[in-house]
């Protein structure tokens, strides 16, 4: 399948410090693409640039053949790109269900007044939204938690709620920023299954992750960043044995000793 996302010559500098340096990445439709690299290699910056949080200093970002460079974050989200956050950003006073409903809102056809005065069509639409929200919660494994406050969930389930909230926007491309951070090994296995199910629903996934076991198990292809540049790209097996990657992660001495 063709590329869903093309990152063409993207650079991002923060007051002269180059966080991304002339980066070219193509993500195919329907794949799980892992992006790995040592701390500070520019992974999260890349997510922020794709989703429009920061504008790229130079370069283009093409989504489904359409240039989305410089669009505001909510427009990019409405085009079908959403994300989760490395350090969870849930809405403190919203329940689990309300998180999903708020994220679904822009897909609803009920306008402001329809929502306030609950017109008949508005009410039917809102009921549909609630049942869709419940489906999403069940899909990620949060069934039965709908009415809990989001922050009342245990840590691992908060991560699932972030994924549910992102799915609620109806994305074609889902960006996950370290979804396995802080999870137990059982929770990571469940996450692995969830990622595969998300892919089987036709959603392309970009996975920024440190847990190598998860990455190697689930990714179709891996892109390796170091100091904001792409140093390798390929299937998990190829990346595992790439000396440049080993060196970036473990240092020159280790690479030399290994060869």
């Amino acid at each position: 399948m063709g590329p869903i996302l093309e990152i063409k010559g993207v650079s991002k500098s923060f007051e002269g410090v180059l966080a991304l340096n002339n980066l070219d990445v193509e993500v195919s439709e329907g794949e799980i693409r892992a992006i790995i690299g040592p701390n500070g290699s520019g992974k999260t910056t890349l997510i922020n640039v794709i989703t429009g949080v920061f504008p790229a200093t130079s370069g283009r970002i093409i989504f489904k053949g359409q240039d989305i460079t410089g669009l505001s974050p909510f427009r990019i989200a409405r085009k079908g790109i959403t994300r989760t956050f490395q350090n969870l950003r849930l809405f403190p006073s919203l329940t689990v269900l309300e998180h999903v409903l708020a994220a679904q809102h822009h897909r609803s056809r009920v306008g402001f007044w329809g929502s306030v005065f609950s017109t008949r069509s508005g009410r039917a639409e809102e009921e549909g939204m609630v049942s869709r929200a419940q489906e999403i919660l069940e899909f990620v494994g949060l069934k039965g938690r709908a009415d809990m406050p989001g922050l009342g969930l245990p840590y691992g389930q908060r991560r699932l709620l972030e994924i549910a909230r992102a799915l609620a926007t109806g994305p074609e491309l889902l960006l996950l920023d370290e979804p396995a951070a802080g999870l137990s090994s059982e929770e990571i296995q469940a996450l692995e299954r969830l990622l595969r199910e998300i892919r089987s629903r036709g959603i392309t996934v970009i996975l920024v992750e440190h847990r190598m076991m998860l990455v190697m198990n689930v990714a179709d292809r891996i892109t390796v960043l170091n100091y904001g540049e792409k140093i390798a790209e390929g299937k998990p097996a190829e990346i595992k044995n790439n000396p440049e990657v080993i060196q970036a992660y473990l240092g020159r001495a280790y690479a030399a000793a290994g060869s």
Binding site: L90, P92, S93, L94, H99, A103, H105, A166
Partner: protein, 293 residues
Amino acid sequence: MALSVLVQQLISGLAMGCIYSLVALGYTFIWNAVGIVNLAQGDFVTVAAFLYAATFSNHLKWGFVPALIAVMAVMALFGMGTERVVYHPLQGAHPRTVMLSTLALGILLSNMDIILWGPYPVTTRGPFGQDIIRFGDVSIMQHHVFIIVVTLVLLFLQHLFFQKTTIGKVMRAVAQDREAATLMGIETGQTIAVTFAYSSALAGIAGVLLAPAFMVSVDLGSVGLKGFASCVIGGFGHITGATFGGILLGIAEVFVSSFLSSRYRDAIVFVILVAFLLLRPQGVLGRKVGESL
């Protein structure tokens, strides 16, 4: 002090407190949505009071309910205009800059009041005039009861709006994490415009309720300060806190002026404000935050 007097004082304090709560809620919603204290909030109340008293009630002779609705509508539009002109162009500027811009708007408005409606105080008759209800030896201004009832109804509707409607949930999400909300496809610009409209409409209600009880002049803008103090007392950015702070302040004011002297009526507000800022800056219900402007 006789019990009857105590009850009378309490009701009149509650009524004033309700007005302060409405003003305080106006501050709170804008603060929660964009992190700005709208320093023109008190002047919004004055504009609304003039609009109601001088224009709709005295000049056009409209009834209370249509006049109230008209003032709220005008104020809501005015709030959206304020968002466009005063806030929007300064997005991304330091909050202090935006607050100065709202301060300027306040000064502009209080002078515009004089140009439009003249320098003399305006009086108007509310739906109940000076009518009094008597229970035994307790006599209560009907208008005070009316203020309390209107405020309670409004608070109830507001609660329904934020808890039950999807747009209310979306607005809460935006207030809590604007960036995360925008990345979920929520158009925060729209919800911010709605927030400004609603905050101004609240000032509109406060102005309309105040007008029959007082002489309407630019001095009415001082309720802005009382509303601000209410927010500090309750915990800035806290909806229940703002309501509670307003009512506490209204009652404190009335009792101080009857136990000490009415000359201390305004002074007590500052005493309470300073005391809270010194001893409990997070307010009664607020939580401590490490960040300052």
